[in-house]
């Protein structure tokens, strides 16, 4: 095929992607069909690839650090390593058991409204913060459903395929959560920064808020139900120009270490 024809096709694709980016309804529908088709291929691949991830993670975190052992100690070390690995494996199982028990307790409170899912992937770009979980449309999931763990809020479902679901984490720059300060009469919007501390915006300088305060979802944004723990206030800076204070919040969940989550069905 001639170069000029290919360039014309490429420019047409550019134009389509541009209109999709601007959310033009005419293009969005066809585009989402194409994406869903691709999701049908990558979804099962992700689920399969996610299976050995735990094992590799375990080996990477526990065994790689022992590679530099001296030769003369090798035999004894090997034996010790085996015990250590066994011990760590057991303590990991114990921790998993604890986590799952916590999730079960949460699920028992509202058994028909929650779906447990395993995290099988994370965003391939570090510009965004998103997780991929192993439950999809077939499990009744849909966009805008809140995702939590026993520790607190994780984020919301943004895209759903048949096999997997994309969850936007609350530290994504496009995430906003309406929260209030537990035990005080203060409210604000918790916005993601892409990094670990989140920003609590629109808190007036004379509002009651101190370092160590817990933030709870207010339920007024129409997505997250009321009363979910989101994070803890770590910095309050009132010495800046303007009427609002600068507040930093650390989320209760470590989003890079999540293994299981619960999706709240609406």
């Amino acid at each position: 095929m001639k170069n000029s024809v290919v360039i014309i096709i490429a420019i047409a694709i550019l134009a389509i992607s541009f209109f999709v980016f601007t959310s033009t309804p005419l293009f969005i529908r066809g585009y989402s069909i194409a994406k869903t088709g691709l999701g049908e291929i990558s979804g099962p691949l992700l689920r399969v690839a996610g299976k050995p991830a735990d094992g590799i993670r375990y080996v990477f975190e526990n065994y790689v650090n022992l590679v530099g052992t001296k030769k003369e100690n090798a035999r004894l070390r090997k034996k010790l390593d085996a015990y250590l690995l066994e011990h760590q494996r057991l303590s990991e199982i114990e921790q998993e058991n604890k986590r799952l028990k916590g999730m079960l307790n949460l699920m028992e409170q509202r058994p028909k409204t929650m779906v447990a899912a395993r995290v099988v992937g994370e965003d391939v770009k570090n510009w965004f913060r998103c997780l991929i979980i192993d439950k999809g449309r077939s499990s009744g999931l849909a966009p805008k459903m809140p995702v939590i763990t026993p520790k607190g809020l994780v984020g919301q479902v943004v895209e759903c395929d048949r096999w997997v679901t994309k969850v936007m984490v609350i530290n994504d720059t496009n995430s906003s959560v309406d929260v209030y300060v537990e035990g005080r009469n203060s409210r604000g919007i918790l916005e993601g920064t892409g990094q670990s501390p989140l920003k609590l915006k629109y808190v007036r300088k004379n509002d009651e808020i101190e370092v160590g305060d817990r933030l709870i979802t207010s339920g007024k944004d129409g997505i997250y139900p009321k009363g979910l723990a989101t994070g803890i206030v770590t910095t309050v800076n009132r010495n800046k120009p303007g009427i609002f204070a600068e507040v930093e919040v650390v989320p209760f969940n470590n989003f890079t270490r999540l293994e299981e989550v619960l999706v709240i069905k609406k």
């Binding site: 490429a10 541009f18 691709l38 691949l45 391939v124 770009k125 570090n126 943004v158 720059t173 892409g194």
Partner: protein
């Protein structure tokens, strides 16, 4: 045709592995773009149509596996393809090192393209800080990994295909 299918499969598998299997690695600061080496390779060494298919496919794949806004990754990957096509006669890629430089440069260009399209269409971009912050580290790590991708693809070519 077989070549394109092989590169597409490799791109898809590598991107999926990056998303799932290697998620335990502390790659938050250095996140390689494993689609770029395939886009650059096909644009420089295969016919343009094959390169366009590869760019579109890998752009869509990255969109499926990330929280990127719809259309954005497809736009940036196809733009990189067009730029590579125009640079084909001006830039001479004769070794894996020059390929690696081209890939690093493409990652930087991709970051700026993303910011540009966000700013043009929405008038503002909440991701500016993030994208700028990670652009250089991502370019460096992609450059290093593209050395491996180039070696792998070339060894496959030597064994199974003829490269022209």
């Amino acid at each position: 045709m077989m070549k394109v299918a092989l590169y597409l499969a490799m791109g898809l598998v590598l991107t999926t592995l990056e998303c799932s299997l290697f998620s335990f690695l502390p790659t938050e600061f250095f996140k390689p773009d494993l689609g770029i080496p395939f886009v650059i390779y096909t644009a420089f060494f295969l016919n343009p149509f094959a390169a366009l298919v590869t760019s579109a496919f890998l752009g869509l794949t990255q969109e499926v596996l990330s929280g990127a806004p719809p259309g954005s990754m497809l736009f940036t990957k196809v733009s990189i393809f067009i730029i590579a096509l125009f640079m084909k006669n001006k830039l001479y890629i004769d070794s894996r090192y020059s390929f690696s430089f081209a890939c690093s440069g493409a990652v930087l260009v991709e970051s700026f393209l993303f910011l540009a399209i966000s700013l043009v269409t929405r008038g503002e971009s909440k991701d500016i800080g993030n994208v700028m912050f990670y652009a250089v580290p991502n370019a460096i790590v992609t450059g290093f990994l593209s050395l491996l991708v180039f070696t792998l693809v070339e060894s496959l070519n030597v064994r199974y295909f003829d490269r022209h």
